[in-house]
Structure formats: structure tokens, C-alpha cells
């Protein structure tokens, strides 16, 4: 079933992609123009999508229950980390992110906090101080 759904999505996407590419036509310069290559890619993509609809592979084992839950939580943590990295600063944001992930993977909270502190301070020392890659200091260290 998953393959069939993906096949339909691919076919629809290929149609939209080709239609969108058609709007890039220009009447000067090289004969192929910016639309040519995308228009070349769309038909095989659409056909392969239809093939997957007709001849799907056996259903993969999707994760369920608490595994699915912790995967969803991981994605939420990562998105939050991406958004908070600049305003909060590297050290604090990383401390929170690593602590959350480590705790979720089965460590006790004090251990997870230790891991978070070690990772964030260690990475900051190594990359910002030693290698000179600027990381956002953020509120924790007064900007």
C-alpha cells in the first residue's frame, strides 16, 4: 500500500513539475532553454510512479507504538533545536537537545544532563575555541 501511495504522489508531482517547468520558457538564447531538462525528467518519473502503483513491493514494517512516538518526539526536538540555536545560543540549546535525546534513548535524567553538558561544552571548546568556527554564543554568555 505504501508503494502505491508513493507512486500516486510521484505521478502527481511529475505532472506539476513538468507544468511548472513549462512556465520558464524564454524566447532568446539557447534553443533548449531552462525548461528543457526538467521537462525531460518529468515523464520517466511519472511513469515509474505509475509502475509502483501497479506493481508495489511488499509492505515495509513501519514503526509503531512507543518507537513511532519517540521518533516523532525526536523530530520535534530537532526542529526546536534548529529554531532555538541562534536566539538561545549554542551551549544552552545543545545542552537541552542532547539531554532530551539521551534521556529518550534510555539514560537516567542526571546521566543525560551530564552527557548534554559534556557534549555541548566539549563541542563548543573544540569547534569555537580551538578550530575558530563561530558558533552563536546567545544569551547564556552575554552575546
Amino acid at each position: 500500500m505504501s508503494d502505491r501511495i508513493v507512486g500516486v504522489l510521484l505521478a502527481l508531482f511529475a505532472g506539476w513539475y513538468s507544468w511548472e517547468a513549462g512556465s520558464y520558457a524564454v524566447d532568446f538564447g539557447d534553443p533548449m532553454g531552462p525548461a528543457f531538462f526538467p521537462e525531460l525528467l518529468a515523464p520517466p518519473l511519472g511513469l515509474l510512479g505509475l509502475y509502483l502503483v501497479l506493481r508495489p513491493d511488499p509492505e515495509p514494517e513501519w514503526s509503531t507504538g512507543r518507537y513511532l512516538l519517540s521518533q516523532a518526539a525526536t523530530v520535534v526536538v530537532l526542529v526546536a533545536y534548529a529554531l532555538l540555536l541562534q536566539p538561545m545560543g549554542f551551549i544552552l540549546a545543545t545542552l537541552l537537545m542532547v539531554t532530551c535525546l539521551t534521556a529518550m534513548l534510555g539514560a537516567r535524567l542526571p546521566q543525560a544532563l551530564g552527557g548534554g553538558a559534556a557534549t555541548s561544552l566539549g563541542a563548543f571548546a573544540l569547534f569555537d575555541w580551538l578550530l575558530g568556527i563561530p558558533l552563536p554564543p546567545g544569551i547564556a554568555f552575554g552575546g
Partner: protein, 503 residues
């Protein structure tokens, strides 16, 4: 082109203190990446690329860093195989078969030494092969025009991505998706923005580093959550060597396996993993007279390690001489070189010999560094394996974010990386391979350019693509391989259908 003076110049480049330092760091980091299960060479190298950019390394130093990491990860993969019976990366799977039984018998230190020596043998032999073969291949490739290059790119995306394994339709879908992602951004020929939806962050295209780190490293984390191991894994202690180092070299085995591995590495579509399997199979056929393979035969440890290191060296040949990568890892290196304004290919040998020969010389040096790191100092790496993964994996995520952040310093890139991580996870679950996606993104722009150049020269006649014998030959090879894959797939489906009816 004279090889000896060029190589001598190369050694002068490689001996610069900066390059020696970079090679040493690369070897060390590479061994760590290889040793830790869960970080393979592809995502390890992807994570390191943005760091190489932000350190402002020269192209030759950056290339030395990444190839040392690549060679190092081939050395490191065996450590976990031997001590934990868990391969450090996919090319070290076979090393478990005889490596772990050897360790169980108290010969762990011997097994580690044997595999380090044969890895050194394979890596060095491949570097010699690269030295000899690359210049002549580059000379031949100088006559390639846009048509031939277009044919080569098509071949690389289809074959390298692994059409030989799995459902060929899904491999093709993956390659096409990569090419589609590659079309996002301003069209270099006309300056028209394509598929950007007005988001100026997308005008320069989607950086392959973001895609590669998302697809490989972030998706690996999501997979890890699902396959989480319960309870600690038992680790065999390293112990002491039981015999002299001299008696732990297996020259005949290493030579056979290295030659095979190098050839497999040079050919597109088969990487270090296949090389290690075939190297083991060959050695078993030749030497397994007393049925000792699988029970801790040292030759079963030496053969796959020599083969996969030789294949890693071999896969650099097409990348450097043609600008067409022979594996996922070399594809990512190619992407980095292009970002640094270095275009690999035949002209590179003429215009920037310092880069090519500096790299080749540095590979000899790296092999020696790796041998030193991996025999007396192997205990340090073994210690690392006892760090529980729930501390390690979030650390890998941190370094991934840090690398992507250092490219443009914005959260848009980070969000895109997480998005590609989820996308990569879904692709992996549906057994759609990831390597063709990355290849498509990296090769998309040069592929489109060579296509448009070829068609512009012929006034838009599509048949021009097939009117050169070499291009036609390349297309024919691609077509045959695709046909074989389709045939095999349909036979598999028929077999499955019969099995379900029977049951």
C-alpha cells in the same frame, strides 16, 4: 606525462606541515568513524565537509583530509567487527565471520594486527594502481566531448546508485528525484530562477551538504531509535599478540584480494562492500582446504580487509580522472571539490597537477600513518567502543547541526536538513536507495550543461547524443545493465508469486 617527477612534486606538497597535520587528523577521525557502528564513511565524510569549508583549507588540504578520513574509515571498520561481532560499517560485515571467532579464541590482538597489515597492503597497492592508471586514463578522457560526458553521467547515476541490488524502478526513482532536487535554483545559462517559490534562500540551489547530512546522518538517527539494542554488548578484550608481527602478514592472500578489490573499486557501481564480500569468497575458494574458514582463519580476516581498502583507493580513479564518482563517498568528495572551484577530470591533471599529485602522495603517507595508528594504538579505539551509543548518537547529531550551521549561519538550512532527514528515513524504509539521490543532486548541473551544450552544437537534434561511437557504447552498457536488472527483478517477482500460491 612522467610519473616519477610528478610524484616527487606531489611528495613535496604532501610533506608541507599543514598537509601532514591534516592527513594525521583525517586518519585518526576516519578510524574513529569506521570503528563506531552507526557512523559509516558516507555520513562521516558528509558531516566533515562543512568543517573543511569553514576552516578555509586549500583544495588540496581539504581533499587530503577527506581521503584520509575515507581510508581511515576502511581501517577502522574492522575493530568493531573483531571485538564486538558488530560491523563498524557495511564493508566490514565479512570481517566478522573469521575475526570474531579469532577474538573469542584469545587472539583479538592478532586479528587486529593481521587486518591492519592487510588493510595497509590493500590501500598501498591501490594507491600504486592509482598512480599508474590515473594519468593514462586522464589522457584518454581528454577527447571526451559533452555527448560522452552526458552518457557517463547517466551511467553513473543509474549504475553507481546500486541498480544491481534491489528494485530497479526504485533506483531510477531515486536518481530522478536527485536530479529534480538539483534543478532548484537559478538556471546558470539564462539566470531564470527555477522552483524557488520566491524564497531567496533557494536561489543558489539546495546545497548538497545539507541534503547529504540530512539524508544520511539524521535518518540514521531515526533508524537507530527503531533498532535500539537492549542491554550492553559484550566486548572481547584486546589482549596481547601471540606471535611476531612478521608472522601475521599474509602476502599472497593480501595480493589476491587487493588486486580484485582495486578492479572492483575502479568499476562504477560496485564499492568497498561488494569488494570485501568477493575478496572473502575468492580467498575461501583458493585456500579453504581444511574447512577452517568461519572458525577464525586468519586469512579470512586478511582477505576482506585488503579488498575493501583497495576498492576505496580504486574508486578514486574515476572521480579524479573523469570527474565521475565511482561510489557514494567519492560522489560527496566530488561535490566538495566543485564547491571549492576545482573541477576534477582530465584537465585537472594538466592545470592543477599539485592537487592531483599532492593527493596521491598524501595517500601513501596516510597509509603509513594508519598502520602506525592501528597497530600499537589500537587499544584507544577499542576503548571508544565501550562508550554507550546513547551518549554518542546525540553527539553525532550535534556535529551535523554544527556543520550545516557553519555554511550559511541560518536556521532555514537546519530546518531543511531535518526535513531531508525525515525524507531519507522514509526512503530507507521503502527501500529506495539514498546514494542515487545524492549523485543526482551533485551531477545534475554538469549533466544538464553537457546536454544543452551537445544539443546547442547540433541545433537541437536529439540523435546527436548517440552519434559518437564512445557515447553510444556507454549508453549501450547502461542499457544492458538496466535490462539485466529488470530481468532479474521480474524473475524474483515470478518466484515470489509462485511461493505465495504454494503457501
Amino acid at each position: 606525462m612522467d610519473i616519477i617527477p610528478s610524484l616527487a612534486n606531489g611528495f613535496a606538497v604532501a610533506a608541507q606541515p599543514m598537509n601532514l597535520l591534516v592527513a594525521f587528523i583525517g586518519c585518526f577521525v576516519g578510524t574513529v568513524i569506521g570503528a563506531l557502528p552507526g557512523i559509516g564513511p558516507v555520513n562521516g565524510i558528509a558531516i566533515l565537509i562543512p568543517l573543511a569549508f569553514s576552516l578555509d583549507l586549500s583544495p588540496v588540504s581539504a581533499l587530503i583530509l577527506l581521503t584520509s578520513v575515507y581510508y581511515g574509515s576502511m581501517f577502522g571498520g574492522r575493530i568493531a567487527s573483531i571485538l564486538l561481532n558488530i560491523p563498524g560499517d557495511s564493508s566490514a560485515v565479512v570481517t566478522c565471520i573469521d575475526g570474531f571467532p579469532m577474538a573469542k579464541k584469545g587472539r583479538a590482538a592478532d586479528a587486529l594486527a593481521i587486518s591492519a597489515i592487510s588493510s595497509f597492503f590493500g590501500g598501498t597497492l591501490a594507491t600504486v594502481g592509482l598512480t599508474v592508471l590515473a594519468p593514462s586514463l586522464a589522457m584518454a578522457a581528454i577527447h571526451f566531448g559533452p555527448r560522452e560526458y552526458f552518457a557517463l553521467y547517466v551511467m553513473a547515476i543509474i549504475i553507481v546508485g546500486g541498480i544491481a541490488t534491489g528494485n530497479p524502478a526504485k533506483t531510477l526513482v531515486a536518481g530522478l528525484l536527485g536530479l529534480v532536487i538539483g534543478t532548484v535554483g537559478i538556471d546558470p545559462a539564462t539566470g531564470i530562477p527555477r522552483f524557488t517559490f520566491g524564497a531567496y534562500e533557494l536561489y543558489e540551489g539546495i546545497d548538497f551538504v545539507i541534503v547529504a547530512i540530512g539524508l544520511f546522518a539524521i535518518s540514521e538517527f531515526l533508524i537507530y531509535i527503531e533498532q535500539r539494542r537492549t542491554g550492553p554488548v559484550e566486548q572481547v578484550p584486546v589482549g596481547r599478540r601471540t606471535t611476531a608481527l612478521r608472522r601475521l602478514t599474509y602476502p599472497a592472500t593480501s595480493l589476491r584480494a587487493s588486486l580484485l578489490g582495486f578492479v572492483i573499486g575502479v568499476l562504477p557501481g560496485a564499492g568497498a562492500t561488494l569488494a570485501s564480500f568477493m575478496g572473502y569468497a575468492l580467498e575461501k575458494r583458493v585456500s579453504d582446504k581444511e574447512n577452517t574458514f568461519g572458525k577464525g582463519d586468519p586469512r579470512g580476516v586478511a582477505a576482506p580487509e585488503a579488498a575493501d581498502n583497495a576498492a576505496a583507493g580504486g574508486s578514486l580513479v574515476p572521480m579524479l580522472t573523469l570527474g565521475v564518482p565511482g561510489s557514494g563517498t567519492t560522489a560527496i568528495m566530488l561535490g566538495m571539490l566543485v564547491t571549492l572551484n576545482v573541477q576534477p577530470g582530465p584537465l585537472l591533471f594538466q592545470q592543477q597537477p599539485d592537487i592531483v599529485w599532492g593527493l596521491v602522495a598524501a595517500l601513501y603517507v596516510s597509509n603509513i600513518i594508519l598502520l602506525i595508528l592501528n597497530i600499537p594504538l589500537v587499544g584507544i579505539f577499542a576503548k571508544l567502543l565501550s562508550v554507550p551509543p546513547h551518549y554518542l548518537m546525540p553527539g553525532v547529531v550535534t556535529v551535523s547541526f554544527l556543520g550545516v550551521y557553519s555554511v550559511n549561519q541560518n536556521s532555514f538550512d537546519l530546518l531543511m536538513m531535518v526535513g531531508f532527514g525525515v525524507f531519507g528515513y522514509l526512503l530507507r524504509k521503502m527501500s529506495i536507495p539514498l546514494v542515487p539521490v545524492v549523485l543526482g543532486i551533485i551531477l545534475g548541473t554538469p549533466m544538464e550543461q553537457s546536454l544543452r551544450r551537445a544539443l546547442a552544437a547540433s541545433g537541437g537534434d536529439v540523435w546527436t547524443l548517440f552519434q559518437s561511437p564512445l557515447a553510444l557504447g556507454l549508453h549501450a552498457v547502461t542499457a544492458i545493465i538496466v535490462a539485466i536488472a529488470i530481468l532479474r527483478e521480474s524473475r524474483r517477482r515470478i518466484g515470489e508469486a509462485a511461493a505465495t500460491r504454494g503457501a
